[in-house]
C-alpha cells in the first residue's frame, strides 16, 4: 500500500467512527446511570436514519433543509427515548436487571415493525448532503467532503459531552448517579427526572448518529441489531461508562474495518486471504483480544456494584420427576390424538425448550448471562448439516457428533468467557456468536453462505413426522433431564455458590473458573443437540439459526417464563414458539404483537410468567379465610 492509500483508508475509517462513537456514547451514558443494557439503542439509531430520510424530503434538499432535518430527527428520536423510559422502563427499575433487558428486547420488536409499517421493507437510499456532495482531493485521491465533516463532528461531540459532564450540575448528578444512585436520591435528587433526561441525551446521540449516516448508508430494517452489536463492541472495548474510551474504541474499530476493505485480497505464502471478508469479524476479534488483556476495556474501570435493594435469588426447588413423568406420558400420547400440524409445532417447541433450558442453566444457576447462546444452537445445526452433506456421514452419526462439535467450540469460547463476569461476559458471548455467524455467513463455498445448507433430512426410518416427533422428544427430554439432574448434583451446587459469592466459593477451595468452564461446555453441547435435532426436522439450515435474533429469542423464552424457576424456560419456549407461529400466520406485523405481549407481561408479572403464577397461587393460599 502506498502512503496515500493508507491515508485514504484512515480517513474512511475515521468518518465511519463518528456515528459509531455517537451511538456508543449514548449507550454508555444510559447504562452508567440506569444500569439498563438498552438493546433498543440500535433501533433508535435506525429511527434516526429513517426519520432524517423523511424529514429531508419534507424540508427540501437545501443545506438548511438537510441540516434541520438531521437535527430534528435526532431530537424526535430523543423524545422517543423519553417515551420508552417514562412508559415502560420507569415502571420496572426495581425489577431484576434481566427483566429490564427483556423489556428492551420487546421495544426492539415493536420499533422494527413500526419502521416496517411506516417506511416499508425496501432499503431507502438518502440524498447526498446539499453543498457537500463534492469530493476533496488529498494526495491525488478523492475523499467526499461530507466524510471530512463527519471526522470533525466526532471530536466536537466528545468535547461537548465532556463539558456537559464536568462543568454542569447535570453532569455532576449523572456521574454521581453512575456510582451510587440511591445516595443521590437520599440527597434530594429526583431520580426519575434524572433518568429521563439521561435517556433523552443518550437517545438524541443515537438518533444523531443515525441521521448523520443518511448520505452514506441506506436506511434498512436490519440496522437495529447490527448497530447495537457494533455499539456493544465499542462500549466494551472502550470501557463501560467511559465516553473517552468509546471515542478511542470507535476510531480503532472504524479504522480497522476500513483497512480490511482497503487491503482486499492478499496472497501470503501461497494462501489467499480475503481481508474484505473480515470486516464483519474484525471488530469482534479486537473485542475478544481487548477483553482478555484488559477485562474492563481500554479506559474502563471495574464497575462498582450499584446499591439496589434486590432480594437474592431464591433457592431452586428440585424438579418433580413425578410431574415430569406425567407430562412425558401426555406428550407420548399426543400424536395418537392430534393432527400433523400439532406434532410439527411440538417438535419445534421441544428443540427450543432444550435450547432455553440450556441457556437458563448458564444464566440462572451458573450466573453467567449469555447474549450469544445461538452460537451453540447454530453450530450444532451446522455441524449436523455439514457432517451429513459434506462429510457424507449417516444422519444418526451426524446427530450424535453435532453436539460434540458445538461443545468443542464452547471449550474455546468458554475459556475466554469465564475470565469475565457481568455485562462484560454477556458482551463477549455475543462477540463469539457474531464471529461464528460471520464465518458461516461469508464462507460460501463450505457453509452455503446466506443460503445455508439444504437437503438435511433424517434417515428413512425417521422420516415420518410422528417418528421424528418421538426422536425429538427423546433427545430434548433427555437433555433437559440431564441438565436438571446436574443442577442438583454437587457440581450444580458449586455453580450456584459461585454465582452468589465468587470470593467465598474460592475461599473454600473451589476452582470456580474450572467449574464454570465445564458448565459452559455442557450447555454448549446440549444447545448444539437442540440445533441438530432442529436442523433435521426442518431439512435446511440458514445463518439465522446463529444470529443475534436467535440469541435474543432464547433470552426472551427464559425471561418470559422466569429465570428463577426450573420449568419457566420450558413454558417460555412453548408460549413464545406457539405465539409466534399463531401471530405470524395472521399478520405481517407479528413482531410488534409479540413485543406488545412481552411488554404487557413485563409490566404485569415482573417475575416472569411461572414466577408470577406461583406468587399468585401463594397469595391465594394465604388469603384470609
Amino acid at each position: 500500500m502506498t502512503f496515500a492509500s493508507i491515508l485514504i483508508q484512515l480517513l474512511n475509517g475515521l468518518a465511519a467512527a463518528a456515528s459509531l462513537f455517537l451511538v456508543s456514547a449514548g449507550l454508555s451514558l444510559i447504562f452508567g446511570v440506569t444500569r439498563i443494557v438498552n438493546f433498543a439503542h440500535g433501533s433508535l439509531y435506525m429511527l434516526g436514519l429513517y426519520g432524517a430520510y423523511t424529514l429531508i424530503q419534507a424540508l427540501g434538499r437545501t443545506p438548511l433543509g438537510f441540516w434541520s432535518a438531521v437535527l430534528l430527527a435526532a431530537l424526535l428520536v430523543g423524545l422517543a427515548g423519553v417515551l420508552i423510559e417514562v412508559l415502560i422502563l420507569r415502571r420496572i427499575y426495581r425489577a431484576p436487571e434481566l427483566f429490564q433487558l427483556l423489556a428492551t428486547f420487546a421495544v426492539v420488536l415493536v420499533i422494527k415493525d413500526i419502521a416496517l409499517f411506516v417506511w416499508g421493507a425496501e432499503d431507502l437510499v438518502g440524498p447526498r448532503a446539499p453543498g457537500l456532495g463534492m469530493a476533496v482531493e488529498i494526495l491525488g485521491k478523492r475523499i467526499p467532503a461530507y466524510d471530512l465533516l463527519l471526522i470533525a463532528i466526532g471530536p466536537v461531540v466528545l468535547a461537548a459531552l465532556w463539558l456537559l459532564l464536568t462543568r454542569t450540575r447535570w453532569g455532576a448528578l449523572v456521574r454521581a448517579a453512575t456510582q451510587d444512585r440511591e445516595m443521590v436520591g437520599a440527597l434530594g435528587v429526583d431520580q426519575a427526572k434524572l433518568f429521563t433526561s439521561v435517556f433523552f441525551v443518550g437517545s438524541v446521540l443515537a438518533g444523531l448518529g443515525g441521521a448523520l449516516q443518511i448520505p452514506r448508508e441506506p436506511a434498512n430494517l436490519e440496522l437495529d441489531l447490527s448497530v447495537i452489536a457494533d455499539a456493544f463492541v465499542v462500549t466494551v472495548v472502550g470501557g463501560l461508562g467511559s465516553i473517552g474510551g468509546a471515542f478511542l474504541a470507535a476510531i480503532i474499530i472504524g479504522v480497522a474495518k476500513a483497512f480490511c476493505i482497503g487491503i482486499g485480497t492478499v496472497t501470503w505464502f501461497g494462501t489467499e486471504i480475503v481481508f474484505s471478508k473480515l470486516t464483519l469479524v474484525v471488530e469482534f476479534l479486537i473485542m475478544a483480544l481487548v477483553l482478555v488483556v484488559r477485562p474492563y476495556g481500554l479506559l474502563g474501570r471495574p464497575q462498582a456494584a450499584q446499591r439496589i435493594a434486590t432480594d437474592p435469588a431464591p433457592p431452586l426447588t428440585a424438579p418433580s420427576w413425578k410431574i415430569a413423568a406425567i407430562w412425558l406420558v401426555l406428550l407420548v400420547a399426543v400424536p395418537l390424538a392430534a393432527d400433523r400440524y400439532v406434532t410439527i409445532l411440538l417438535t419445534d417447541i421441544f428443540c427450543f425448550a432444550l435450547f432455553a433450558v440450556s441457556l437458563h442453566f448458564i444464566m440462572g444457576p451458573a450466573g453467567m448471562v449469555s447474549f450469544g447462546h445461538a452460537a451453540y444452537f447454530g453450530l450444532g445445526a451446522y455441524a449436523a448439516g455439514l457432517l451429513f452433506k459434506r462429510a457424507g456421514l449417516p444422519m444418526e452419526a451426524a446427530l450424535v457428533l453435532a453436539p460434540l462439535c458445538a461443545g468443542a467450540f464452547a471449550v474455546v469460547y468458554g475459556w475466554f468467557c469465564v475470565r469475565l463476569s457481568g455485562v462484560y461476559l454477556a458482551m463477549l458471548t455475543l462477540a463469539f456468536a457474531q464471529i461464528s455467524w460471520s464465518i458461516v455467513f461469508q464462507w460460501d463455498s463450505f457453509t452455503g453462505g446466506s443460503n445455508g445448507v439444504f437437503g438435511v433430512w433424517p434417515s428413512a426410518w425417521l422420516a415420518d413426522k410422528t417418528t421424528y416427533y418421538y426422536l425429538a422428544l427423546a433427545c430434548c427430554g433427555a437433555g433437559i433431564a440431564l441438565l436438571w439432574r446436574v443442577l442438583f448434583s454437587p457440581f450444580g451446587f458449586v455453580l450456584r455458590a459461585g454465582r452468589d459469592s465468587p470470593l467465598r466459593a474460592e475461599a473454600i477451595g473451589i476452582d470456580l473458573r474450572g467449574f464454570q468452564w465445564a458448565a459452559f461446555v455442557l450447555v454448549g453441547a446440549l444447545a448444539g443437540l437442540a440445533g441438530a435435532v432442529y436442523a433435521f426436522s426442518k431439512g435446511s439450515i440458514s445463518p439465522s439459526a446463529i444470529s443475534i435474533a436467535q440469541s435474543t429469542d432464547g433470552l426472551i423464552m427464559v425471561l418470559l417464563g422466569g429465570v428463577e424457576t426450573l420449568t419457566g424456560p420450558i413454558a417460555g419456549a412453548a408460549i413464545f414458539t406457539w405465539l409466534r407461529d399463531e401471530v405470524a400466520r395472521r399478520t405481517e406485523f407479528w413482531r410488534a404483537v409479540m413485543g406488545l405481549v412481552i411488554l404487557a407481561i413485563v409490566l404485569l408479572f415482573p417475575q416472569g410468567l411461572v414466577g408470577g403464577l406461583k406468587a399468585l397461587a401463594a397469595r391465594w393460599r394465604e388469603r384470609p379465610a
Binding site: A172, T178, L187, G188, V189
Partner: protein
C-alpha cells in the same frame, strides 16, 4: 420535629424492626444506642425511605412521610448521612457538595461552600481533590457537609464516630455541637457511649429491633445495668 411510631421493617423476609417508636424535638441531639446488628442503621434507613417501612408512622415536621420516596423526604428538610459514607469517589469535593445542594429553606440561612469549609477546615484545602483520594476522617466530614448543602432542618447521622482516629472523633463531636448551635435537630446512631454523652441531650437504646430504654443522658449514666445489658460487648 421527628416522630416515629410503631415502625416495622424487613430485609427480604427477615423482620428487623419490631415496632420502634422514638421522638426528636426541634433543636435536640438524640442518640440511638445499641450493639452491632441491633437495628440502629435500619431505623435511620426506614425513616429516610431507603428501606420502606412495612408498618408504622413517621412524621417529620408534622407531615407523614413513611410512604414518600427518599428524594421527597430529603426535600422536606430531612438530611441523611450514611454509615459507609458513600462519597462519590470520582467527583471532587466541590462536586460532591454540588450534588447535595438544594434550594434554601425559608427561615434558615442557607449553607454555602464557604460556610461549610469554616465548619470543616480540612476540606477547604482540597476543593478539587477527588473524593476517592481522601482519608476516612476527611470523607466523613465531606459526607456531613454534602448533606448540609441540602439545608436540612433535621439530620440523621449513622455512626458518625465509627472507624475514626481519636482526634478526628473529637473534631466530629465539636462539629455536631456546632450543628446544634445552628438550631438543627440531630438523630445519631452510635455504639460509642462516651461519644454520645459528649454530644447528645437524650438517648434511646435499641436491642433486637425494639426500643429498650428512652431517657436523658443523666438517667442513662445513673443506671449501669442498662449499659451492662444492652451496650457492653
Amino acid at each position: 420535629m421527628l416522630q416515629v411510631r410503631n415502625l416495622h421493617a424487613f430485609y427480604g423476609r427477615a423482620h428487623i424492626l419490631h415496632g420502634v417508636s422514638l421522638d426528636a424535638g426541634a433543636g435536640e441531639v438524640v442518640a440511638l444506642l445499641g450493639r452491632n446488628g441491633a437495628g440502629k442503621s435500619t431505623v435511620l434507613k426506614a425513616i429516610m425511605g431507603l428501606l420502606p417501612p412495612a408498618e408504622g408512622e413517621v412524621a417529620f415536621d408534622g407531615r407523614r412521610v413513611e410512604r414518600l420516596p427518599p428524594y421527597r423526604i430529603a426535600r422536606l428538610g430531612l438530611g441523611y448521612v450514611p454509615e459507609e459514607r458513600r462519597i462519590f469517589t470520582d467527583l471532587t469535593v466541590s462536586e460532591n457538595l454540588e450534588v447535595g445542594r438544594q434550594a434554601a429553606r425559608a427561615g434558615l440561612p442557607p449553607w454555602t461552600e464557604d460556610k461549610l469549609f469554616a465548619l470543616f477546615p480540612n476540606l477547604a484545602a482540597m476543593r478539587e481533590r477527588p473524593g476517592g483520594r481522601m482519608s476516612g476522617g476527611e470523607q466523613q466530614m465531606l459526607t456531613i457537609a454534602r448533606t448540609l448543602m441540602g439545608n436540612p432542618r433535621c439530620v440523621l447521622l449513622d455512626e458518625p464516630s465509627e472507624g475514626l482516629a481519636p482526634i478526628i472523633v473529637e473534631q466530629m463531636a465539636r462539629s455536631i455541637r456546632a450543628l446544634k448551635g445552628e438550631g438543627l435537630t440531630v438523630l445519631l446512631s452510635e455504639q460509642n457511649l462516651h461519644f454520645s454523652q459528649a454530644v447528645a441531650d437524650r438517648a434511646y437504646i435499641i436491642e433486637k429491633g425494639q426500643i429498650r430504654f428512652g431517657g436523658s443522658m443523666a438517667e442513662l449514666a445513673a443506671d449501669p445495668s442498662l449499659r451492662e445489658q444492652y451496650l457492653s460487648v
